[in-house]
Amino acid sequence: MTDPAPSQTGLLIRRLQSPLAGPFDFAVPPGGCGVISGPSGSGKSLFLRMIADLDPNDGEVRLNGTERRALDGPAWRRTAPYVPSEAGWWLDDVIDHFAPATREEARRLAASFGLVEGQFDAPVARLSTGERQRLAIIRALVLDSPALLLDEPTSALDPQAAMRVEIALQARLAKGCVIVMVSHDAGQAARLKAAAYRMVERKLERAAPPEAQA
């Protein structure tokens, strides 16, 4: 297959499909954000999982020119980490989920997300859903990856906490990171200057920008 745009950067997805969903064609420029909304069960999470290569799928996924297949599964997912809406925890204490080299940065982010210092050293079981959600995003942010796949990253957060997370995401976008995220918050797409999409029955369509509707 010839590459029509070898200089293409950002995230480029062509004919991404699985027996469950697709095919999807999708692109996000570097420093850009794609926000997907749609009814539950429409395939939003499936789409992110397919990009992350967590479910069997076919198709072309390129990030800044590199084909996903050129990397092994873990290496690809380090380039484009995926944070599910209810992320799992695999050890007792929050701090053990972070590699020692990333803990300083993780604490800094935790503070900027409005988490108090003690929560970072607490057992996971003692944290609220919203605290866990922010810490799960931090687990991905400390990887300093060129792309992020976030499934409803602020669903359990109050508007103020959501805003703090958005500020961190805006900083990533400014550095050229590509973000694909699922969100039901229409304002969020606008605040992140994102391209808005809608998932309907496992098909992706470009949502009309709010101006056009008016």
């Binding site: 992350a52 290569d53 967590l54 479910d55 069997p56 092994d72 599964g73 873990p74 290496a75 690809w76 997912r77 380090r78 380039t79 980490p81 995926y82 944070v83 599910p84 209810e86 992320a87 799992g88 925890w89 695999w90 799960a136 687990r139 991905a140 990887l143 796949l149």
Partner: protein, 263 residues
Amino acid sequence: MNAIALSPTDIAISASLIAFDAVLSILLKLNLHRQVLWSAARMVVQLIAIGFLLRWVFALHHPAATVALVVVMAMVAAREIAIRPERRFKGADGLVLSSTGVAVATVVTVALALLTAIRPHPWYEARYAISLAGIVLGSVLNSGSLALDNLLSSVSRERPAIEAQLGLGASFHDATRALVRQAIRRGIMPTVNQMSAAGVITLPGIMTGQILAGLDPVEAVKYQILLMFLLAGASGLSAAIIAYLALGRLTDERQRLRLDRLR
């Protein structure tokens, strides 16, 4: 070695204990008497059948007969391991991996014993090979099925935790390391318990049998020690091989978690 020969009368007298259990069940309304009598009858028929089968195979003095019997026993064990877990592999995957684990663990330990410690002539002498394989298979079955059941259920249960790690770029082996370790531990634990209890809390069956059959206790103890080592080795091999093979089937070339291969 002078075994005290048992006459049918002796056995009939001990059978009165089964009758006692049945009467107890009727008196106390335990509703168990049918099961007690039925399982006692089954046990008698099965053991008499295997006794005659073994006598026949021993008399054949043919390695093929010995191998055939051991293979059948091993296949039954492998099938048990594959079908026992609540979450199990679709298709023949489970059977393939349990057969591999059973075969390797049994052949390695039984061959080690026959070629070094026990050394019958010829080394495939049915009396030794079949008895050893039978004991070893019991352990292999136990540890393999505990390890497999534990691994498949913990991986299913811990799916969010595993996928959270995979999503951040962890390798499949890193993401499941703790679960595999726990599954293998679970498989080996009964053998460890058996070893530490031997002689203090229980008199192991083989040793008791040999003492009853007239062997000197110290000689019987030596045999038992050898057997315990064999069983420990066999259960370790079986648990580890089956757990790692199962783990391999739970992932693919992109290091995804493939729970869709389970039912």
